[in-house]
Subunit: 415 residues, 4 copies
């Protein structure tokens, strides 16, 4: 009789380095292996002996079949783990417009390189949940990060995990709390808020001094909480280089500029903001007539508010629509894929991102932002911050606070 | 010397009837007059003496200028108040594509009629924040509700409040708590939930018996809370006639059908659902390859879940994209205006609407739904319900509860 | 044969006056009658014709039996409604220590008078859910508000609703929004917060100028959010006349004063506050050794923080324990009834009450505070404010905001 | 000239074993050392190579002075780390009643032993934030866990960290997810709730089969959500061995039993529960007259509800008062220290604890519960669960769901 044979499982070894203990990254890697149905064995763990030393681990990962193993290894790359023997990349043609090959390599938001033959080629930019497309430019291969909707039939797409390497941002690898003072903070309203505001102001000054851009992502509560004047001061002082928002922030801002003082009840007086009345749709109609927000500014129709300040300062904004929008304003991208493309086009040069009072646009920006851009998310609702981190923006620092007082305090620090 | 003359303010009288006291509608009307900077005098108030009688009030509204008076009267129509002397409608041509005349009549979500000459013409459908466009069909004038983005240059648009009349839904006018058992309820988690579920089941049965459609609006938590099997049973039993959702619900549902059982950690086992991993983008890619969700069902790629059940039952769904979407699925409307049009096309015949675990799509649906359609909003987050009511969906009944247990209980009652 | 007789229901007429429409009070009265199982008929309604006029309503209330009618009339008194024919009070002896007669009159938090014979006697103080005890002082009858736990066997207690009259605070009767600028506001984070802070500061200055006391009720988040220094400045500037809190606020404040600078991680640096470590129990032990907080101040053990500032300013505080307390501090009332008595003793002279970041002590104070004392409740959690209003503190104005930034801003306005 | 001498820092080595990686415990230990201002060096780390193996680490901890070192070592014991060379315990007399020596050993909620001379003595019970008192019983030393308020002057108290050893519960040390299926879960409403309910039911059956007690801790929302009938069925089926609650749960339960059916609006009908009315105080007065809840049951005054069921089943309950209580019921401990003592007296034999809809009593119970008792906390508010875990109840498993539907579902599983 023949003995029953246990099939040799497929296996590979991945390496991690950095502050594996403090940051909990090793625990997360091991968790994920088990969660995906694989198994692991720690081959070696070279711990920094002092707390400022880096550690290095080699973990043998095994799985029942090659496809699952591939999926696990790709998953571990989101934590900065790379295969010890990466091999070279497999390329397959996209089967149709807007469709990747089945086993396409799904990107992380980390800096990435691809090895086609011998050399490691840097990928053009980091964005999660995309594919990697290899093409020729000037006789040399280049690797681009492409969302599934933008791939064209026949383009060569990296498949499987072979030949792909990622790199954690230095601060994350170090578990660098000092880089930001509260780098590892989770959402909490129980923090000395005044200190946090000061640290953010400090960081914004540094980013500007380094010639980088500050990206703001905002929701309509910026207007409802009476923080628009503070935000205008920040725009005028040069601390808002790009603004991502939806129809609502711009509409309520413009509505407030157009109707805010003509009504008995207004923001200056502090009474309730009536929701659902029709002023917002009149405001939208007025701007549609002017052709655009900039048109309304230059024709003297729009003379105040955040959007006016952005136009006056010559700073770009990207407004992307949603299914709940009325109107919308003529500047709004009603096609969300167009909107995402417009947002991506503004990312180069961004050195800091701050999100205030928006879950939808915060997550949308988190989806396309490289992990190397520091990210602060401010909301009175703790769920916004939690969701952001859950979806892969591990670098997100959450601050649960009141937007109105927060922006007032920040404007005071910076202007 | 001549004495300084106080200019006679512009004024008109509006009438309200129904359960003015119990429903608080009179208080809201008076509040709004003051909030808009007008003033009022109650000319008469004929109270029902018994608590089941209707009341009728005449309120004289005055304002500093005719334009403000017009805006106030339009505002009061959202509460069902009409001018005693409505006059006939003023029509003006739209100045450009997608632009209304400045003083266009902004619609409510109540049943509306317009008087052009003598006769009152019914408006085709009720939707808030739109304009009214008058055209000829077969030699007779018809009045259509048109969103600002859909108006064409030169179309004749109702301007000002003259010649427009609205009508409260009978149940709302009656303050009819008995119609639904908790009609006036505000958001609260402190309610006997088992009773509420039974009442909703009862109402769904009645709506189906009357040959009307049940509209569902859902978010991805339907899948995350493990409620998809319960939802499938409801689809199969015929209680889901139309489904409005985003890319997320459909994607997570399909991801769960495609990958749910191949992983060690899954919904059936009750361990954590890993967010942010790449299975959702693989699931999307698979469906893109099949061309559509229905295509994936017919080719045998997709064999379970809520979307599969909808396709099998031959029931329509409208998926509308948002800026945070990955992919998206091929069935998703990426242009939000197209998406809104597709949603509007499904509204005729809807007799009941239930929203579960989604703020974005709940508000989007609330925007286009007539006030005459009963509406239940179920969410673990009280803010969703509050926002919905704030934005004009006064008929919304909120239930703060757990989606997973709620749908399980509802499926038990109905299947 | 005799016809079936419908028993004549028991009925009485109550009168309301004030801004019945704007304030919604009439609607609430009618609602409550139905909710308690009674019925009503509006006998007359004399509406103010201008919006600043008062209205007056007479409502006939009927019920199946005298006991229910009595309960309904008592309930309506919480809205300021009084019987047109009040009669004289019925007195019965308390059957035992700590027990009222079954049909005792349960108090509201409104100013109340009792008629024993002919004359209306003012009740000593307003507190809800107590009984009224009549005794003799210097040969004259006096009426005291007594909690059930404090009544003694044989004391004469007012029973039923006869002979009791209540009075709405003038501002509430007027629906007086101007008195405070946002009197009718419900909980919302979407308000111009900077304006609200200014209005509260203004009101505090007026109260101090009128020689009245400002009562603070606080939770430990005052310390956790880094607001203790701002609070100390408010104490030193004289804007904190009395402080109600629990063991936690005082303990964390003292812990921070004793250990705050000796640890690498502290409030000044902005890193996470470690919960659950043992410093709080060491801080408590240190104060227990000193005998009291004042003792620790005078012996030089405690040299900073909010409690230190209160002791230095000679201002009283009442700390009441709860079942979750460790220790507690020697100043804490471990018996909650003793604690309530100590709180009541501080109420005379209070002209304004502000509650920050505490649900337990906010509700406890709301229970004993007369409706005539303006009350602002500040919390990042909207539920706290909602609960307070639900429980009968109708005068509560809620502000949903961040405590740290709020107190910083308030201290800036006032110091 | 003499060189400046760096003083040799005080240092000791601690050992940890168990699933150090998966559970993140090593990371927390290292974090805490730095947070307290100490430093560390990992002397050795023997990793389990397979994921089911245990690991063992030796960490050298250093600090600037002996007192800080002692505080750090005590802190690390909350994670199950013990000094390699524990020495013997230092005992000092308590300086006064209710006061520990300054450097008293502050307990964890882990099983603990003390070495006085040679032998390790087991401590009588585990409770955090207490002291250890050594006395003689029958000529042999015994070590008791004593809260600070209960220590008497002169009693011998363990000081510093020497001679104390703790032990992680086996399941925690193993990182044993299988023990409970979702052991490591954090608060989330996005879970398959039906599965979770089934797992809890399963666990309750096992605990009962093992002859252990199930402890319930509940808040008034049990009644408000209409879950009292489900709870009654659980009591009758024997799954509620002990109940900890406050005045509110018992009062609203009794109020509902006494008045629930006599009012037009009631729980069975599903309309709003009126808060703040006076029925609760009448209910309290009725029970006060009867002398106790059991008295009201035996005299036939109280015939339904949860408290009635507990009395009928002969199961104990501990009601502890709070400063917001009206009344209270005669069974309520108004002194919170007495209440804590009564709660402690019920803990022996408890094998499982479930907390529903109460933050105050959940934290109070968490404070006194050994870490070895599995603990599930069910609340619609995620903050309750987060607070519980923050305060040291690391074994707490949180379920964010609706209490009404949860208890209905649980009763269905178990009865």
């Amino acid at each position: 009789m023949e003995p029953t044979q246990t099939p040799t499982p497929h296996a590979t070894t991945v390496a991690l380095s950095g502050h594996l203990m403090d940051t909990g990254v090793l625990a997360r890697v091991l968790d994920d292996v088990l969660e995906y149905g694989g198994d692991y064995r720690i081959e070696s763990l070279d711990l920094g002996r002092q707390h400022e030393d880096e550690s290095r681990a080699l973990v043998r990962v095994s799985a029942a079949d090659a496809e699952l193993l591939d999926r696990i290894v790709m998953r571990l790359q989101t934590h900065g783990a790379n295969a010890v023997d990466p091999g070279t990349a497999t390329l397959r043609p996209a089967p149709a417009d807007g469709v990747f090959p089945d086993d396409f390599y799904s990107t992380t938001n980390l800096d990435t390189s691809v090895r086609l033959d011998r050399e490691w080629l840097p990928v053009d930019r980091a964005e999660m949940d995309c594919g990697l497309v290899v093409s020729e430019e000037g006789g040399r291969p280049v690797v681009r990060t492409v969302p599934v909707s933008d791939v064209r039939a026949g383009e060569r797409v990296v498949c499987g995990s072979h030949g792909v390497r990622v790199e954690l941002p230095p601060a994350v690898a170090r578990g660098d709390e000092e880089a930001f003072g509260f780098m590892s903070s989770v959402a909490s309203s129980e923090k000395p808020q005044v200190v946090l505001v000061r640290q953010i102001a400090e960081r914004m000054r540094e980013v500007k001094a380094a010639g980088q851009k500050v990206l703001w992502v905002g929701g309509p509560a910026v207007v409802h909480t009476g923080a628009a004047p503070a935000m205008v001061r920040l725009v005028e002082a040069g601390y808002v280089d790009v603004l991502f928002a939806g129809n609502a922030l711009a509409t309520h801002d413009i509505e407030s500029a157009l109707f805010g003082t003509s009504l008995g009840v207004d923001l200056a007086k502090g009474s309730g903001v009536p929701h659902g009345h029709e002023h917002h749709i009149r405001a939208i109609n007025t701007i549609r007539r002017a052709g655009s927000i900039a048109g309304a500014v230059s024709s003297g129709v729009l003379t105040g508010g955040v959007m006016h300040a952005m136009v006056q300062a010559g700073k770009p904004f990207v407004l992307v629509g949603s299914v709940r929008d009325d109107g919308p304003l003529p500047d709004v991208h009603t096609d969300v894929l167009d909107g995402q493309r417009a947002m991506r086009a503004q990312l180069p040069g961004v050195g800091f991102c701050i999100m205030v009072a928006t879950m939808l646009h915060a997550i949308a920006t988190g989806n396309i932002l490289p992990a190397s851009v520091p990210l602060v998310c401010v909301d009175i609702n703790p769920a916004t911050v939690t969701k952001l981190a859950d979806r892969g923006s591990a670098q997100a620092i959450g601050i649960v606070t009141d937007i109105g007082l927060f922006l007032e305090q920040l404007a005071r620090e910076l202007t």
